[in-house]
Symmetry: C2
Subunit: 367 residues, 2 copies
Amino acid sequence: MKQPIVLFFLCLNFLWSFGQEDVLEDFQSSELNQPGKQFPMVNSQGYVRFKVNAPAADSVSVSLGLGGSGGTTLTKNNEGFWTGTTAGPMDEGFHYYHLTVDGGTFNDPGANNYYGSTRWESGIEIPAHDEEFYALKEVPHGAVQQILFPSPSTETSRRAFVYTPPGYQKDTDKEYPVLYLQHGWGEDETAWMNQGRANLIMDNLIAEGKIDPFIIVTTYGMTNEIKWGGIRDFDIKHFQTVLTEELIPYIDSNFRTLAHPGNRAMAGLSMGGMETRMITMNKPSLFAYYGLLSGGTYSPEDVKEHDELKLVFLSAGSKENPDRVKNAVSELKNAGVNAVSYVSEGTAHEFLTWRRSLRELAPLLFN
Amino acid sequence: MKQPIVLFFLCLNFLWSFGQEDVLEDFQSSELNQPGKQFPMVNSQGYVRFKVNAPAADSVSVSLGLGGSGGTTLTKNNEGFWTGTTAGPMDEGFHYYHLTVDGGTFNDPGANNYYGSTRWESGIEIPAHDEEFYALKEVPHGAVQQILFPSPSTETSRRAFVYTPPGYQKDTDKEYPVLYLQHGWGEDETAWMNQGRANLIMDNLIAEGKIDPFIIVTTYGMTNEIKWGGIRDFDIKHFQTVLTEELIPYIDSNFRTLAHPGNRAMAGLSMGGMETRMITMNKPSLFAYYGLLSGGTYSPEDVKEHDELKLVFLSAGSKENPDRVKNAVSELKNAGVNAVSYVSEGTAHEFLTWRRSLRELAPLLFN
């Protein structure tokens, strides 16, 4: 009578493992770890393994992974370390995550921190098959300048980051076009350079001769949050004032820019796309190039009287709603607008979608 | 028989509280908190109050404070939050700290992160009576440029930060002296701008007419740690190569510098002082101004053949060993060396000592 039972469990085990791949034991430390920290680790399939020291804790879980609760539950080993591996491979690219230790939210002490979800989160990088385009290479590098510009409307000096391309410091006669590039909800002006690697993407595109050098400016777009009004009370006018009346004039008078709408672009990811759409609609004569990265669409009606407009660029990850941007671009084209769509294969509402979108957008600008 | 016992405990209580001040209930959120986060809070006496959510934890403590274990033990309230106040006031200025949650080391989710002790620590700021000199004010602001310079010796592009003073971008004919400024053990090239506020100190000194503008460059000094040799195997040659053969030539060819030893200074805090001393001794013709901030001393013998030398600046906090720098400066002066000592009142081996030291050093440079 024993054999049928054994067979039953063998079948159960077979069904359970069906479709699951073997996890390869080629884990390497994440490239975004703090110096000298071994964990978290990533394997060649995109699985992530965690190891957290909390010997007296009762429970430790990670917000990253495909487990039942949308995360990964760690288990305690004999030495008091909590370990675990995501139940499946993660999408290529950058992901935010955090730990839950005995009910409290903490960061992984092994990982670097990145501002997202209105907090400094832990970050991890799943090496992408096309990671070369945002890699640190032996090419001439531009600078990322942290500036503080006067903002009468918010009664302070505000921070922005300005990517100046290689050669900007030396060739002091040359003037450059400018792309104003906005982060998403819960992020800040650090996101495009830290998570987005915008400076390295630009350095590489310039070194390959794929684009002519231009300047990128990032600043904080959740200006209405300064007084903690929250997203429900969102009003574009606060940020629009900072961007169009304070930051742009400051950039044009302190950097060597081509200070003309034809040499000025605005783009943003997610909420930054929504802001880009609102501001370009409110100020149709200020920018000639519009980019919404996972951040909505324009209708032909929206832009029909935009005389300066040279390009509308709409993008999304294939795991988002890519048909929406493709359809919108078809309609824009039918109406005679120069519009381009881009879909990032195999990615969702995350930074690899936007790194690739910048790579695709940059060569279309300022031609 | 009850009265003597009551009296005994009253006396005990009196003796216990003797010398302890009342804790004023005027706590305000630390200025280094993450956006929108209420805790940690600081009162006008310098006490710090913490509140951490970890409902299922068995113990939470903070590495900051004056308790028995050198920190502050938090206690759980009815809502599952762990709260506590330091047993005494903290020194004015910036402090690193972290939490211990059930035996594991985590950061305070309320605070911003700063790289120190070879990890991204939580940071807190106790407002100082003289905080104006490093405050963000309505004055012209310089830029902090993140650059990536080629480093053949370490086979990568290395990061440095370059403070360029207000006007640097506009007046493209002017050339500037350069101060190479090093962080301490366990810190990195971000420390002088983030924890040290070197850019704001410079902006304010320039606005007040107390100094002529100069450039500051910071880079990672624990170069030997790249291969994790550790401090025991410290060898200055790795960092010396990066600084003197790679970074300085890069700065002199990519920024508008006065590329002459008479317009070049090197200074560092703590281990960065040790490195400054070693490198200026090995390369006596490269710098004219030397600064050791809580970072050792020179003897007259050390510098007697340094023909380019114009100034030795030695500083320390009054809670360190200030006599050591005062005595060293006396000896240097007796030997005819232009030497200046500075003691920061009421501070220890922490960043307020070094912010003040930079304020004192800057006006003595490049005259």
